[in-house]
C-alpha cells in the first residue's frame, strides 16, 4: 500500500519536474547552509579550544602584587615580593600539580652571524609541565642545573629558526648578552596564544641563572610571577584559597591587610573565550535554520497550489474508492519525499561547500555527523509539518465538489 502510494507520489512529482526541483532547492539551500555554518562555527570553536589547550590547563598565574609606599600605590608586579622559595613551598600544596617560578626579561641572542632579540624566561623544569610543553629535540635542564645556575638554554621554535636556520641547535653554544649558553634542547611548536602572541618566540633558562647571571634581581631570589597548575578543574577554587593562605602566611600579612600578590585564573578567561566561540557557532546555526524554515514554507506553498490544481484528480480518486486517509498519505508523502531528497542533496552540498570554504579561505571547519543527522530529522519534520496542512485540506474535500471542480 505505502509502496503504491510512494510510486503515485513520485509520478505526480515527476509530472511537475521543474516545480518539484525548485521546491526542493529551498530545502537544499537551507540544509546546506545549516551544515556549512555549523562546520565553520565548530571549526572556530575547535581553534579556540586548541589555543586554550596550548596555554596549559587549570592554570594560575601569581603576580607579585601592588604595594602602597608612602601613599603611592604601585601597579601589580611593581614590587617583587614573590620568591623561588615561595614557589618551592607552593609545590607542597596537595591541590597543586606543578609550580614554576618565572623571571622573564629581554635579551639579545647571537649565534654565528645571526642575532635575535627575544624574551628569556628564567624558570624551573616544572615550567614545561605547567604549560604542557613538549620538547622537539634534545633534553630539558634539571634541578641540578637550577642549583648550580648553569648556563644552559631551551629554544622556542621561532628562536631556533631565526638563529640556526636548518642547523640542529642542540649541543651548540649561543651567546645571550655576550655570555655563552649551551643549547640543551628545542621546544615543540605551540603557535599563537589567545591574544595573538607568538608563544614560540621564547628562550628558557634556569631561574637561578637568570637571577644571578643574566638580569640580576633587586632582592635576592625574587621572581616576577609564579605559574601554578591545579590538579584538576574542580580543584581550582580550593587551590586558589590554599595559595592565598600560604602566601599571606609566608609574607606575614596581618589580617585585614591587602595581599601583596594577585592570583589570576587563566582558565576562567579561557572559558569565556570558549563560550564566545560557542555562542557564535549557535548564532550561525540559528541564522541558517531560518533558511530551512523558509524552505519548509516553500514546500507548503507549492503543496497548496498542487492540491488546488489537482482537486479534480482527488475527486476521481475518491470516486473510485480512495479514503480520505489515502489522499492525506499521498500528499504527505510528496512533501516528505521533496524534503528528504532536498535534505540529501543539501547534506552533500553542505559537506562539499564546507570543504571548499576551508580550502579557499584556510578556515578550519569541523564536519561532524550530529548536524547531518539533525538536519535529516529536521527535514523530515519540516516535510510532515508543512505538508500536513495541504494534505489535510486535500483529504477533507468532498468527493462530489472535487469532481465538479474545473
Amino acid at each position: 500500500m505505502i509502496l503504491a502510494m510512494l510510486s503515485e507520489a513520485w509520478m505526480a512529482m515527476w509530472a511537475n519536474r521543474l516545480r518539484t526541483i525548485l521546491t526542493m532547492l529551498g530545502m537544499v539551500i537551507g540544509v546546506a547552509a545549516v551544515i556549512i555554518m555549523l562546520a565553520i562555527g565548530q571549526g572556530a570553536q575547535q581553534q579556540v579550544q586548541a589555543s586554550i589547550a596550548s596555554m596549559g590547563s587549570n592554570l594560575f598565574i601569581i603576580l607579585s602584587g601592588s604595594t602602597t609606599s608612602g601613599g603611592l600605590r604601585l601597579g601589580g608586579g611593581a614590587t617583587p615580593t614573590l620568591t623561588v622559595a615561595d614557589a618551592q613551598s607552593l609545590e607542597e600544596l596537595p591541590s597543586l600539580a606543578a609550580v614554576a617560578p618565572s623571571s622573564p626579561g629581554t635579551a639579545q641572542l647571537v649565534y654565528g652571524p645571526n642575532n635575535w632579540s627575544t624574551q628569556v624566561i628564567g624558570t624551573t623544569p616544572s615550567f614545561l609541565l605547567v604549560r604542557d610543553w613538549q620538547l622537539a629535540s634534545g633534553s630539558a635542564f634539571t634541578d641540578s642545573d637550577i642549583r648550580a645556575a648553569t648556563r644552559v638554554a631551551l629554544l622556542g621554535q621561532t628562536v631556533a629558526h631565526n638563529l640556526f636556520g636548518d642547523v640542529d641547535p642542540v649541543e651548540k653554544t649561543i651567546r645571550i648578552k655576550n655570555s655563552p649558553y649551551l643549547v640543551l634542547g628545542v621546544l615543540a611548536a605551540k603557535g599563537q596564544s589567545l591574544d595573538g602572541r607568538d608563544q614560540d618566540d621564547t628562550v628558557l633558562v634556569p631561574v637561578t641563572t637568570a637571577q644571578s647571571k643574566l638580569f640580576g634581581t633587586q632582592f635576592a631570589g625574587t621572581v616576577r610571577f609564579i605559574m601554578a597548575q591545579a590538579v584538576s578543574a574542580e580543584a581550582m577554587p580550593v587551590a586558589e584559597k590554599a595559595i592565598t593562605e600560604l602566601l599571606r602566611q609566608r609574607h606575614r600579612i596581618r589580617d585585614g591587610a591587602e595581599n601583596d600578590f594577585s592570583i589570576r585564573n587563566l582558565t576562567a578567561m579561557a572559558n569565556t573565550a570558549a563560550e564566545t566561540a560557542q555562542v557564535m557557532s549557535l548564532m550561525l546555526g540559528a541564522i541558517a535554520s531560518i533558511s530551512l524554515l523558509v524552505g519548509g514554507i516553500g514546500i507548503m506553498n507549492i503543496m497548496l497550489v498542487s492540491v488546488t490544481e489537482r482537486t479534480r484528480e482527488i475527486g476521481i480518486r475518491m470516486a473510485i474508492g480512495a479514503r480520505s486517509q489515502d489522499i492525506l498519505l499521498q500528499f504527505l508523502l510528496e512533501a516528505i519525499i521533496i524534503s528528504v531528497i532536498g535534505c540529501l542533496i543539501g547534506v552533500l552540498l553542505g559537506v562539499g561547500g564546507a570543504l571548499l570554504v576551508s580550502q579557499l579561505s584556510g578556515m578550519s571547519v569541523v564536519i561532524s555527523i550530529s548536524p547531518i543527522i539533525m538536519s535529516f530529522a529536521v527535514a523530515a519534520a519540516v516535510g510532515i509539518f508543512f505538508g500536513w496542512y495541504p494534505a489535510r485540506k486535500a483529504s477533507m474535500l468532498r468527493p462530489i465538489e472535487a469532481l465538479r471542480y474545473q
Binding site: 503504491a4 510510486s7 484528480e313 475518491m318 474508492g321 479514503r323 489515502d326 468527493p399 462530489i400
Partner: protein, 241 residues
C-alpha cells in the same frame, strides 16, 4: 426485495442557497434488482445527476432511505462509503475522468491500489480488463494519445476492475459521436447480458436509453414514469400526438 442492488425509499434532496432552500429530489422511490439495465432520463434540472451522485455514494440525501446491496448507506461513515465506491460500484463519467499523466494500464489499475493489491497483480488485472473492453494493444499509451471512444472504454475497464455489482454511468456517451456512442452502448449491453452486471445510466437521448430494459423518467425531482423502455416510446408518441 431483500436482494435488491439499489433500494431508495421516499428520498428527498434539498440544496440550501442564499435565495433559500431549493428542492431537487422529491419523494423518489426506486428499486433496482440484480441484472437490471436501467436508463434514467430527464431534462436538465430534473434532478437526475443529483440522483446519480446519491446512488454513487458521492453525495448524501436530505432525508429518506438508501440501501445499497442491502446496506443502509445513511449509517455508514466516510471510510465505509469509500469502500463501497471501491468494491460495489463502478463509475463511468461523461468526461471520462482519466488521470492524464498515468498510462492506460495504470489508470485501470488505480482502484486496486486502494484495495492493497500488489503491483504485479494490479497490472495483470488491468491488462485483462483492457482486453475485455476491446483495448488490448496500446496499454502503455497516455489517455491524450487515444480517441474519445477509446478513453471511455478505458474508463469502463477501470470501473470494472474491482468486479463491482453495480455500474453507474453518468451520460457516458455525452462527449462521443453517434457511431462511437453505439459502440459503447453495445459494450454496456454485453456486460449486462453476458456478465450479469447491474447497470444504471443517465442519458437524455432516447436511442441511447433504448439499449436499457427499464426506463425511469424524472421531471422536477419526481419520478413520472418507471417501466419498460418500449412502453415509454409509445407513451412518448402519444404525448407527441
Amino acid at each position: 426485495m431483500h436482494n435488491a442492488v439499489i433500494r431508495i425509499e421516499r428520498l428527498y434532496k434539498e440544496y440550501v442557497t442564499d435565495a433559500g432552500t431549493v428542492p431537487v429530489l422529491k419523494d423518489v422511490t426506486i428499486t433496482v434488482m440484480p441484472g437490471e439495465f436501467v436508463a434514467i432520463m430527464g431534462a436538465s434540472g430534473s434532478g437526475k445527476s443529483t440522483l446519480m451522485n446519491i446512488l454513487g455514494c458521492l453525495d448524501v440525501a436530505t432525508s429518506g432511505n438508501y440501501f445499497l446491496n442491502g446496506r443502509d448507506v445513511n449509517r455508514l461513515d466516510g471510510d465505509e462509503l469509500a469502500l463501497l465506491r471501491n468494491q460495489v460500484i463502478g463509475f463511468v463519467f461523461q468526461g471520462f475522468n482519466l488521470l492524464p499523466r498515468a498510462n492506460l494500464e495504470e489508470n485501470v489499475a488505480l482502484p486496486l491500489i486502494y484495495r492493497g493489491v500488489s503491483r504485479d497483480q494490479r497490472l495483470l488485472q488491468a491488462k485483462e480488463m483492457l482486453q475485455k473492453v476491446g483495448l488490448g494493444k496500446h496499454n502503455r499509451s497516455r489517455p491524450n494519445q487515444i480517441s474519445g471512444g477509446q478513453q471511455q472504454r478505458v474508463a469502463i475497464a477501470r470501473a470494472l476492475v474491482n468486479q463491482p455489482k453495480l455500474l453507474l454511468a453518468d451520460e457516458p456517451t455525452g462527449n462521443l459521436d453517434t457511431h462511437t456512442s453505439h459502440e459503447i452502448m453495445t459494450l454496456f449491453s454485453e456486460l449486462n447480458q453476458r456478465d450479469g452486471i447491474t447497470i444504471v445510466l443517465i442519458t437524455h437521448e432516447a436511442d441511447i436509453a433504448a439499449y436499457a430494459n427499464r426506463l425511469v423518467r424524472l421531471a422536477d425531482g419526481q419520478v413520472i414514469y418507471d417501466g419498460p423502455v418500449a412502453n415509454a416510446a409509445d407513451e412518448h408518441k402519444e404525448q407527441a400526438a
